[in-house]
């Protein structure tokens, strides 16, 4: 179905169909499969959440295609964008992780994975992976860390980040609720795990209301020093 992918506008959403004349459809090697990913870092935990809908154009390919991939015991990556590139990219990351483990006899830390992913993405600067990545995990000191990437490898460490089709809707809400931006006279309490999980659920329910590519179910991976726990919450299916 990539042959008709030229009908997409810049941000991946469908362009209006022109009935005023012939439209040339060129082959494009990319497709946009939708999906939203979100990551939050706390004092001693990190959350990576994604919806599980896989869509293309007006169709839904699958209602059970989560976008979080577990990399190590302390790191999870969320990838949204073009599903083909997501699969290949995670395959490459997993292979590189194994190579590192065999030559260095230890697992890669979150920061190291982030730096490596940056060079992997930039290696394809002239034919990029169409993937918006967010890595969530614990750093060497046990504190939560979130690293967000653009498709060509620019990255930095954040406290929270939303990526994917509903990112423009979710990011301002997170700025306000977690970053306390643009609020006066507010007591800035540190974020607890329960509050963060509840916030993520609320935020995805809102995203599913207004973004057609987000919905079906929400999968949250909660990373603490005890390990990685998963929670699945249903969302709107329409």
């Amino acid at each position: 179905m990539m042959i008709s992918a030229r009908a997409y506008g810049d941000n991946g959403k469908m362009k209006e169909h022109h009935y005023t004349g012939p439209v040339e459809h060129k082959f494009s090697p990319y497709a946009f499969n939708g999906g939203t990913v979100l990551a939050v870092a706390g004092e001693d935990f990190a959350l990576v959440a994604s919806d599980t809908r896989l869509s293309e154009g007006y169709s839904i390919h699958s209602r059970d295609s989560p976008k979080c991939y577990k990399l190590t015991d302390t790191t999870v990556i969320g990838c949204s964008g073009f599903h083909g590139d997501c699969l290949t990219l995670t395959k490459i990351i997993e292979a590189r992780l194994k190579m590192y483990k065999h030559s260095n006899n230890k697992s890669m830390t979150s920061g190291a994975i982030a730096a490596m992913l940056s060079t992997i993405l930039y290696g394809k600067r002239f034919f990029p992976y169409y993937v918006y990545n967010i890595i969530g995990g614990l750093d060497e000191e046990g504190r939560g860390a979130v690293y967000s990437f653009d498709p060509v490898g620019s990255y930095q460490r954040d406290t929270y980040k939303a990526g994917g089709s509903a990112s423009a809707m979710l990011q301002p809400l997170l700025d306000n609720q977690i970053g306390f931006k643009n609020m006066e006279n507010v007591e800035q309490l540190p974020l607890t795990l329960e509050k963060a999980v509840q916030l993520v659920k609320d935020v995805f329910i809102s995203a599913a209301e207004r973004d057609v590519y987000t919905g079906d179910a929400l999968k949250i991976c909660i990373i603490t020093k005890e390990g990685i726990r998963e929670e699945i919450v249903p969302l709107r299916k329409d």
Binding site: I3, Y8, D10, N11, G12, K26, F27, S28, P29, Y30, F32, K91, I92, A95, R96, M99, S118, T119, L121, Y122, G123, K124, R125, F126, F127, P128, Y130, S148, D150, P151, V152, G153, S154, Y155, Q156, D158, A168
Partner: protein, 365 residues
């Protein structure tokens, strides 16, 4: 095997498949040898185990025709459009199949792959030298055609203890090339037991970017550093200027200028077009015209550190005020003979409200 290749395990593929990565191995000294045969020959014949020691990063070069043709027609594309260049390849490597790669010029000049997303652009950065060192300042907004991708991105990146670089252009390009430059400078330092000068670093960066001229790579960096490892020489100059009355300043200025050819503060602008300029004051980015107006009127060689910091901050603030693509915070670095020092990141929203308050008070009285 395809996965191994893409992962960068160095088993050199003798027969490149249509999707095999073309690796670029080149030395900065040889970067002017862009004749097809030379580089292509090196890429295949001198692949050493581990990092070749020379390539900054392996880049995957897409073959333009294959990406714009539907896969249904795949395999039927003929490459007879450039027969002379095919002959060149056959002459060097008779083992290569005749359906071979497009001519080994660096890259197709037109951007071959239509991207479905835009990359981050838009900024205000500045750097200037004065008697007390070098100031490098930048805003922190990273925008992506209308959306603020990141309100707190660092645009002034330290490269080593005495060199700081401001970044403008595509943020991924700037971040990665700075990382590559930092690695090359560190290797130089280990091999030659001294730091490379700012001019040398600028030349190295410029030569590393040269093969990518004409592609969509966009890097415009200002390297701000302090040269010279002899700290004793610098101290008398700074003391003299701290208390010098104006009529003596011009005489001592000329002495400082001649000494600073060897060591001292240095600001050099490097651009991915190939431009490399040394100067005393640079501002780069969409907000640079606004910053220049403040800098041109207030910067002079004899200013104190306090004044210089104020001016830099004011220049970035004014630029963020008027330029939509600059905003959020201002980062400021000060480089002296002892190294770089980072000033606390300041949120310009507060400054905006303080100024409004001042205006309101002035009008009220």
């Amino acid at each position: 095997m395809a996965l191994q290749d893409v992962c960068g395990l160095h088993n050199s593929p003798l027969f490149p498949q249509w999707s095999a990565p073309l690796s670029r191995s080149f030395m900065p000294e040889n970067s002017t040898h862009l004749s097809g045969g030379g580089i292509h020959g090196e890429a295949f014949s001198t692949r050493l185990p581990g990092r070749g020691g020379l390539s900054p990063l392996e880049f995957y070069m897409p073959i333009a025709e294959y990406l714009t043709e539907s896969p249904i027609n795949f395999g039927q594309t003929s490459l007879t459009s450039a027969p002379t260049k095919l002959l060149e390849i056959d002459h060097l490597h008779p083992s290569l199949p005749s359906i071979s790669l497009p001519p080994p010029t660096p890259f197709p000049v037109s951007p071959s792959v239509p991207l479905p997303f835009t990359l981050s652009h838009g900024t205000t950065t500045l750097g200037f030298a004065f008697q007390g060192g070098v100031i490098a300042a930048a805003d922190t907004r990273s925008s992506c055609s209308g959306l603020v991708a990141c309100p707190a991105s660092p645009k002034v990146l330290p490269i080593h203890s005495h060199l700081v670089g401001t970044t403008s252009g595509t943020s991924a390009d700037c971040a990665l090339w700075k990382r590559i430059l930092a690695r090359e400078l560190r290797l130089y330092q280990l091999r030659h037991h001294r730091r490379l000068s700012t001019g040398g670093a600028a030349k190295l960066l410029s030569h590393m970017l040269h093969p990518f001229k004409g592609t969509e790579l966009c890097v415009a960096a200002t390297l701000c550093g302090w040269d010279g490892d002899d700290e004793k020489h610098e101290q008398p100059i700074t003391e003299k200027h701290a208390n010098t009355p104006t009529n003596q300043m011009t005489a001592s200025n000329s002495i400082v200028r001649s000494r600073s050819r060897i060591c001292g503060p240095r600001v050099i602008y490097v651009c991915s077009d190939g431009l490399r300029l040394q100067g005393e004051l640079f501002s780069v980015g969409s907000g640079s015209p606004y910053a220049y107006s403040i800098l041109d009127s207030s910067v002079y060689w004899g200013m104190s550190v306090q004044e210089a910091t104020e001016v830099a901050r004011e220049a970035v603030y004014r630029a963020t005020y008027r330029d939509a693509y600059s905003g959020n915070n201002v980062d400021l670095y000060h480089v002296t003979a002892k190294g770089w020092r980072r000033r606390e990141r300041e949120n310009l929203k507060e400054e905006y409200y303080r100024e409004k308050e001042r205006e309101r008070r002035v009008i009220a009285y």
